[in-house]
Amino acid sequence: MNPFTATIWFESFARRAESLPVRIHDWILGLLPAWPWLHWLVTALLAIVVILTFYGLFFAMITVTERKGLGRFQNRPGPNRTGPCGLLQPFADAIKAICKEDIVPATADKVLHFIAPCATVFFGLLTLAIIPAGPYFTALNLDAGVLYFFAAGAASELAIFMAGWSSHNKYSLISSMRALAQLISFELPLLLISVSVVMAAGTLSLPGIVAGQSSWTLGGIIPQWNILTPWGIFAFIILFIAALAETNRCPFDLPEGESEIIAGHLTEYSGFKYALFFMGEYFGMLALSGLAITLFFGGWNAPCEFLQFIPSYIWFPVKLFMMMCLFIWIRATLLRLRIDQLMRFAWKLLVPLSLVNLVVVAFWMRTGDWAGPLQLVRWAGAFALEFVPFLLIGRHMSKGLGPRKYKYAQ
Amino acid sequence: MNATINYAELVYALRPEIALTLGLLLALGYDMAFGRRMSDCARRGVAVLIGIVTLASAVFQTLHTNVPPVGHAAYWFHGAFVYDTLAHGVRLGVFGLSALTLLLIAGSIPHSALRTPHFKHPAEYVAIQLLATMGFSLMAVSNNLLIAFLGFELASLSLYVMAGFDKTSRASAEASLKYFLFGGMAAAFMLFGFSLIYGMTGTIVLPEIARSLAVQGPSPLLLVALVMVLVGFGYKAAAAPFHQWAPDVYQGAPAPAAALIASASKLAGFAFFARLLFSGLGTVSGDAINFGGPAGWIMVVIIISAASMLLGNIAALAQTNARRLIAYSAIAHAGIMLLGVIAVRAEGAGPLFYYALTYGIATIGVFSVFAAIERTAPCQRISDLAGLWKRSPFLALVLFVCVLSLAGIPPLAGFFGKFYLFAAALYLNGLMSPAGWLAFLAIAMSAVGLYYYLIILKAALVTNATAGASAATEKIRVPLSTVIALATSAALTIALGIWPDVVLGLFK
């Protein structure tokens, strides 16, 4: 086998591997009568089944990863009894959840109490449909995909409020109000950052945004991902922080703050409804991670040109997994904030910085034709435009704040 | 996206609005930066000063706009804006009226512990008022349903806030909420009507709408749209039967806000609707000349107008609250101005504009007097005005002039406005037209109106204050800025009555 044929073989392998899902899909359709509506239905159902199984399994694996990871962070083994290395733990948990008694408080608003967990999962799933996981794994390709994502995603706030309110528990209500305040506050930077990416990509379609990042420079080593621009790194950090808050993850998990308000809106839930909340939350996390990948990490694209032989449907889960790990890492590292700190952080830092980011994107896109030394100016300018406001606002916010002085410990 | 968008033209078209924006930013910014260090009085003074300077610069910008000759109009920015004498006049008018009401703020500081409207946040108030003024100005130049709606809502939303600006007052909050709920509903009606018009014609530019409707002719759907638009308009203009908010707002809102709602808002609203109805829906106006002509919006306007005049005048007779009385009289005046809307067909917008402008000036005068009185004693009931002649002859004189102008007594501006407007309405087809009968009704009702205006004057000029209430007899010291507002409105009321050509010259 000479290198040339090897390359050919290699390329054809890569192509075949890439188009595997299409071939499976065509094969299944071939088994069916050639009625267009049936083909459409089956195609759609296939897409849905893939989404449900993929993200369902991913959810399961992430829970076990998280538990084990947190265990390691805290110098303990984590779950290790069920299955090999405790890998079957989530399934055991599911069975346990099914078996547990479902307790509904006598004074609760029964209907809303029932709807709330379903709605959490429902809206989580809706957002997942739009995430482009690969050229052949884009279940829903809308012209205004970004809008769809936020329309579906924002509705999950409603579910949390439903849960808190219907429980008829003071802690639940407080938590849901807090959650609402927190979610709407962090929704803004999220939205604004998406807008800046849309500005750069010139389209609202998520596959379109991915397509805009599917090339490489410097001989195919450096991908042209948005994260590798001065505005992109800032934007991603903001988006990630906002995503943490949107999914009630540590350090923004105030709504569930066990030490203050029992478990917030989850207080009155038990059994499988509780599990559904978990599922919904993780679906939300997966969706936001998917969005972050789409917006900043080139979606399904390989990081280097020569790595293209690995099919896109591998790359996407890998990136997703790494994002989730990042979530877990943050959770293990940081402490929970106070509500005032949280709100201040959103309104006084993230929102202004995302507005600044819009301007920087405009600058960056308009200076695309600068070359040579001007290129340097472009980078420096963009960084300066991001950094200076950040420093100014940061200094202003921390004015008068020093390390806390402990009276009794001195 | 249309690459041929001419932004220079946009900037040219909106120079006064840009000036207002910069002014409001300046007012807010200055207050944020230095406000805390200043005394209340200085803070208020600076805010008002910035507001006045801003309005002056807006007037300056307006004056430096080329006005096409009468009967012609310039279209800017792909037909989104229109500029003609009416737009020019209304812009100048609203800036002037707005400046007059601004002057009231500085004067409305309470002297005693009495609960009177006061402004803890003058810069915000000025900024919101400038926003409202911007809305008025946009309404004046809009040639397109969208710009019109935006201007309308910008103005309305600002006015809601201004009506409720006195946070210490229960009445103010209640008034603004009522104003808001009614106004919101009106906006919804109007928007629905706009959407139907858009659906029928496929365009939102007024002349294109007119062209398209001329081809289509009237249809039931169009009638629905017209009624909806007019319902929205009726609310805005406080015309019966959509007037319920007006008395409450006039009574509860702080005096400067009420003055603005009664003056500039009316001027801009009526100018805008005259333009909408004639330039956009003129081809489906129906017949104001003969009874039994084709149906159209004119009949609806006539009915609303008649209802407003009857209800306004008759309800005003029963009032014991001076502000409510002025409100009901405003409803009656709205009826007359609706007649002016019809008369636009005969004589152009001149009579309507003159009437609305002079009405606004006189109303500001009245509210200035109320505001000045409120510095020492509450000024709600008509009896609160008692002994005004002794407490401040100047206030009594201004009240005298302004109320008589509202009543339509020569040689004041209100008289000339009425006369000109009635002549224009009769010009359509004399008494034999619906408009003619409406004019007849208007005359009869002005005679009724005279009675309640005289009640106010009687209280102010003749009746002695009841003994015992020390606040109600002490002399009123009127602050300088209010004096300016009072003197200006009274002087304008007289001067425009004697030399109406100053205003009408624009339209000839």
Partner: protein, 105 residues
């Protein structure tokens, strides 16, 4: 019955519903909701007409632009409305409209 008709019927029903809510409810927030429904009914009209009707060449996007702007206006109205309701609440300790009856005559 065409899609346009369906949209129009839907929007009309929505408008009627909003109007009914705005007129019959005594809670200010519910009235506000009714008003918002009415505004959104108009938005649906705009979009429906834009989508299903022949357009004037001069501005093919008028309907959708109008809808975008009126959504913004509706939001601004909600913002102002909520603020005013809070202001009333501060005085009356509730938002029932029948209690706000200080001004009359």
């Amino acid at each position: 019955m065409s899609a346009l008709h369906l949209c129009l019927i839907f929007s009309t029903l929505l408008f009627a519903l909003g109007l009914a809510a705005a007129l019959s409810r005594s809670n200010a927030i519910l009235v506000l909701l009714g008003v918002e429904l009415m505004l959104n009914a108009a938005n649906i009209n705009f979009i429906a007409f834009w989508r299903f009707s022949p357009q004037f060449a001069s501005n093919p996007h008028a309907g959708v632009i109008f809808a975008v702007f009126s959504i913004a206006v509706a939001a601004a109205e909600a913002a102002v409305g909520l603020a005013l309701i809070i202001a009333v609440y501060r005085h009356y300790k509730n938002v029932r409209l029948q209690d706000a009856d200080q001004l009359k005559g």
